[in-house]
Symmetry: C2
DNA sequence: GTTCCAATTGGAC
DNA sequence: GGTCCAATTGGAA
């Protein structure tokens, strides 16, 4: 687990002046009722706040990206519970700073509106009309996100749409959730993986539809398999030409 | 679709005297509010009545078996919607006869009790302490069925328990839902299938847990796959001995 | 020993 | 073309 001092270091790296120690900032939000032990649990908490519309537009892209930056500013491949949990707390700290700043700027106007189309934050900083999907920091363009009619879509379709927003066809065709090779086809080359973005999509859809993540996982697996087949067919067709 | 006269023929075959025409008997139950077009829908209706506890113990094994007997008394492999729908109506007719007979025997005693452990019918005829799972006529021993704590079990476990009640390990290891070979392993011999009993288990669990049949299907697939692996491992171990 | 999981496949729709 | 499905596999839990 990262220390409060180290977190402050990252905060300053992202051009956020240290106002208070991490622990104090953390208390801007009500302390959680029960102890959160895993990244999954923290994600659910975070997601709950996101659903309320408080969070979705508060982070800039660089802030969101801090979820995949380590203490040295490098892109991190650490997906351990400790690191994810640290990221969660870090982002809560950043958002707390944002909220207090916004509160001073425009005192008590336009609150309790669920996911306003334009927030003060967006009106000040342009170019980041993004919707945050989860604690991993994954964002999608707001315009694209609002096109999605979650009420009418099956969750499997929502999964595919979000995957298409965050990954190229090539990425979808060459990546898998685990990076492991199929147990049924040993010797087939294993692929890379992209746990943070896929993880955010997984939890976002699971929360949206109030279904188990295992269901979403199956949908992701099928979607990725179809992407691979599509690419394979295309290559085979080009070879015959 | 089978005619009322033909249904009467089957009824008499099962030693039930014709009391009324089928149409009249059918009106003992309230007519369905909406038209039922498929076997799946009729199954759901039937299952609803079963859940209320009215039906579960009213059929003898031979009555249940009539679900897989055709007009000539032979075991039928017909799983078409028409045939299943006919079976459904036939069973409702049988049950209506039973109910009216029981009503006369013990007038208005012990009604609205959900799934009584012993019914008048059972006290008269011994040897058929069976619970009917679905319109396909699949039954399991009541004693075994009542051991299952559906509240605590995951639906996947319920699927496995019911499969184990209705099939031997050998059957589970050598059968599949569709009888088709795996698309990923062409050339591997295809297996037989047993649609009626598996169908009843599928719908029973889906209704019990109020989940989609596709979920139950996945659970069945995994259970059968595990059964095959277990057998395979055993054979491999015997070969090395 | 039992249960669950994801990657792969061809085909159905 | 896009989407969904079941059979198979080895290993994880």
């Amino acid at each position: 687990m990262m220390s409060a001092m180290e977190i402050d270091k990252v905060l300053s790296m992202h051009n956020y002046a240290k106002k208070e120690s991490f622990d104090t900032i953390d208390h801007v939000d009500k302390p959680p009722e029960k102890v959160v032990n895993t990244y999954q649990e923290s994600e659910m908490m975070f997601q709950g706040e996101l659903e309320k519309g408080k969070i979705s537009t508060l982070l800039t892209p660089s802030e969101s990206m801090c979820g995949v930056l380590d203490i040295k500013g490098n892109k991190s491949t650490d997906t351990s519970d400790d690191f994810m949990w640290y990221n969660h707390k870090l982002k809560k700290a950043v958002m707390a700073l944002r909220l207090t700043a916004d509160d001073k700027a425009n005192s008590a106007s336009n609150n309790s509106v669920p996911i306003p189309s334009v927030t003060p934050r967006e009106s000040i900083k342009s170019g980041h009309n993004e919707v945050l999907l989860g604690a991993g920091g994954t964002t999608v363009p707001r315009r694209e996100y609002e096109k999605l009619d979650f009420q009418r879509m099956k969750y499997t379709i929502a999964v595919r749409r979000l995957l298409n927003l965050k990954f190229t066809k090539e990425e979808l065709a060459t990546h898998s959730q685990t990076g492991k090779e199929s147990p049924a086809f040993i010797g087939v080359k294993a692929e890379n993986h992209n746990p943070v973005r896929v993880g955010d999509i997984r939890l976002h859809v699971a929360k949206k539809y109030n279904i188990d993540t295992s269901l979403v996982n199956k949908a992701i697996t099928v979607a990725l398999a179809d992407a691979r087949k599509t690419k394979k067919r295309k290559i085979e067709k080009e070879d015959t030409d």
